[in-house]
């Protein structure tokens, strides 16, 4: 099973984390929602599998390309 690092498309903040480590996710499921430029930006799972790690917490600032979570 391959691991995919899910990177942030923008610089902004983590607004809501919708899934927990260990959750099963389907492709397209929203794992977390970021906030940037007054927009709510959903971070979707790139594939079906398990969310094996969440590397950020709500309210923290994140940079473009920063790895937010890992799906296997």
């Amino acid at each position: 099973m391959s691991k995919i690092d899910v990177a942030s498309p923008v610089t902004g903040t983590v607004w809501k984390i919708e899934k927990q480590e260990g959750d099963t996710v389907s492709e397209g499921d929203v794992i977390m929602i970021l906030e940037s430029m007054k927009m709510e930006i959903p971070v979707e799972s790139p594939k079906s599998g398990t969310l094996i790690s969440v590397l950020v917490q709500e309210s923290i600032s994140i940079d473009e390309d920063q790895i937010l979570c890992v799906v296997e």
Partner: protein
């Protein structure tokens, strides 16, 4: 050609003159196929790279490659002046077919002398090379498989003098940019001439991890700036593609890069005097996707997936994205509608709300000129709040680059369609229309537009009333609520200031209809594009 007794080089012959010369031809051809020799080829492979002959074979239709200049190289002769061996020229060139269409194709042979230029009467490849003449005089696309580092100081001793830069210049390369599609793959470490050659293309791609491109490599950087940096960190795909936008796309393997070039070419005509090819699709023109009705969230601050939206509208599996990792607040894709090629320019609400920054402006400008040059109508899927704001944006000169996008949009000769999905504000919004043309604007009911949004606009225009009110925030909300209904897109439609508002599910059939209509005009406007005025 019948079988001939093999002539051993250096041996006197008892065969006829014809047999001797045909044998020599066969011998010389074999020498050419050896490239730089087995060891050099093994080194190329162990670096994760293919040889130039393997590359040409992989990208071309089977057996279609017709080489020109097979015998160019440096002969080695014995004391009796008999041929011993030939070191081939460090470039392989010719014509081939890609998906049934002829192209001029060539690439540096890195196994010979690192692909650097060598003294010859005429160059096969690179800028000013025969391969460019082939493309120009036959009006066919050019594919450059770049794997060379350009000029070398060893030429100094060989020539006996130094020459002005541009002894083989970019004149033909520049000319080709207005004549035929040019696609380049950076397959090794490119600096100097080959780097310039890669950039003077309509589409360029490089390989993650194994290729790099820079103005000068680590040794020169160390010498000039005292900076120590490895070649990947200086000019790998992360820098050249994602950050600098120097090269358009990246690929994980050489084969993937070739697929991208083939995909790009499938949307292009042979030259600017012809229409691009139509590829009829099984996807019905009247397909109406239910999901389009709800893809834009009710809540205006919620982003949605513009890539998905565009793909629901275009012919299935017809999209090819250019510069997906650079200037991400805009999406530029070649696609098809009803089989006809179109250029899609779609703002991306997931990235800075779709605001136009210096990178997305630059990306949009290149894509508009590409479509305009090759007679590909443009459809704007609009959701742009304006230019990017803030200190970094101003330092980068966002405003100037944005106005350049407005300038280029206004000069377009191809038909354009503007479809407003959600926001269309300000000068960035102007870059999504060509008001010198029919200015046909369509919109979804979720659309909103103006010089600036009501929120924020009220705070500025009604500052006095708001500050004077007992509850300023409530006052601001009150004025916003009063103005909001006037901002409804339906009011604009009443005034025919937007030409049509449509049900989102109607998008595909409607766009297909207009793109089919555009073909009459495209046929009437073939040829080269002139460009006027100084870009701001």
């Amino acid at each position: 050609m019948g079988a001939h007794e093999k002539i051993e080089p250096g041996q006197p012959s008892e065969l006829t003159d014809t047999q001797t010369t045909l044998s020599e031809l066969k011998f010389r051809r074999n020498e050419s196929k050896k490239m730089g020799g087995a060891q050099a080829i093994a080194r190329q492979h162990s670096a994760g790279r293919l040889t130039v002959r393997e590359r040409i074979e992989k990208i071309s239709d089977a057996g279609s490659f017709q080489e020109v200049g097979t015998l160019a190289g440096t002969g080695v002769y014995d004391p009796k002046n008999q041929l011993v061996s030939v070191t081939p020229a460090p470039y392989v060139a010719g014509i081939a077919k890609i998906n049934g269409r002829s192209v001029a194709i060539g690439g540096e042979d890195f196994t010979v002398r690192g692909g650097t230029t060598f003294g010859s009467s005429r160059r096969k490849g690179g800028q000013g090379g025969f391969i460019e003449d082939l493309s120009h005089f036959y009006r066919i696309p050019l594919v450059n498989l770049i794997d060379g580092a350009g000029g070398s100081v060893t030429s100094l001793k060989r020539r006996g003098h130094s020459v002005f830069p541009g002894v083989h210049g970019f004149e033909r390369s520049v000319q080709l940019m207005g004549e035929v599609p040019v696609a380049s793959a950076v397959l090794g470490t490119a600096a100097g001439g080959p780097a310039g050659r890669a950039i003077l293309s309509h589409f360029s791609v490089m390989i993650k991890e194994t290729s790099q491109i820079f103005a000068a490599g680590p040794p020169v950087v160390k010498r000039s700036l005292g900076q120590t940096i490895d070649k990947n960190s200086l000019g790998g795909a992360k820098i050249a593609v994602d950050t600098g936008g120097t090269i358009h796309n990246s690929a994980s393997t050489e084969e993937e890069a070739f697929d991208q070039i083939k995909r790009f070419l499938s949307f292009m005509p042979n030259n600017v005097w012809e229409l691009p090819p139509v590829c009829p699709s099984n996807d019905p023109v009247n397909r109406m996707d239910e999901a389009l009705a709800t893809i834009v969230p009710e809540k205006r601050t919620q982003a949605y997936n513009m890539h998905r939206l565009v793909k629901m509208v275009c012919d299935l599996d017809s999209t090819f994205e250019i510069q997906p990792t650079y200037g991400k607040s805009v999406v530029t894709m070649l696609a098809r509608l009803g089989g006809y090629p179109v250029g899609i320019i779609a703002n991306n609400p997931m990235v800075y709300g779709g605001a136009m920054d210096v990178h997305s402006a630059r990306k949009q400008i290149h894509f508009m000129e590409l479509c305009d040059t090759f007679h590909i109508p443009i459809v704007f899927f609009v959701d742009v709040p304006g230019f990017m704001v803030g200190l970094k944006a101003e330092q980068e000169g966002t405003l100037r680059e944005g106005m350049r996008a407005v300038f280029v949009a206004g000069q377009l000769q191809v038909p354009t369609l503007t479809l407003v999905i959600r926001k269309c504000y300000g000068m960035a919004g102007m870059a999504t229309c060509n008001k010198n043309d029919i200015d046909l604007k369509l919109a979804w009911p979720s659309a909103e537009w103006g010089s600036l949004p009501v929120e924020g606009g009220v705070a500025a225009a009604y500052k006095k009333e708001i500050d004077a009110a007992p509850d300023p925030i409530a006052k601001e909300r009150e004025i916003e609520a009063e103005l909001k209904p006037y901002a409804s897109p339906f009011r604009t439609a009443e005034a025919f200031a937007v030409e049509e508002i449509i049900d989102p599910r109607e998008t595909r059939p409607l766009l297909c209809q207009f793109i089919e209509l555009a073909q009459h005009r495209l046929k009437a406007n073939l040829g080269q594009r002139a460009r006027y005025g100084v870009q701001p």
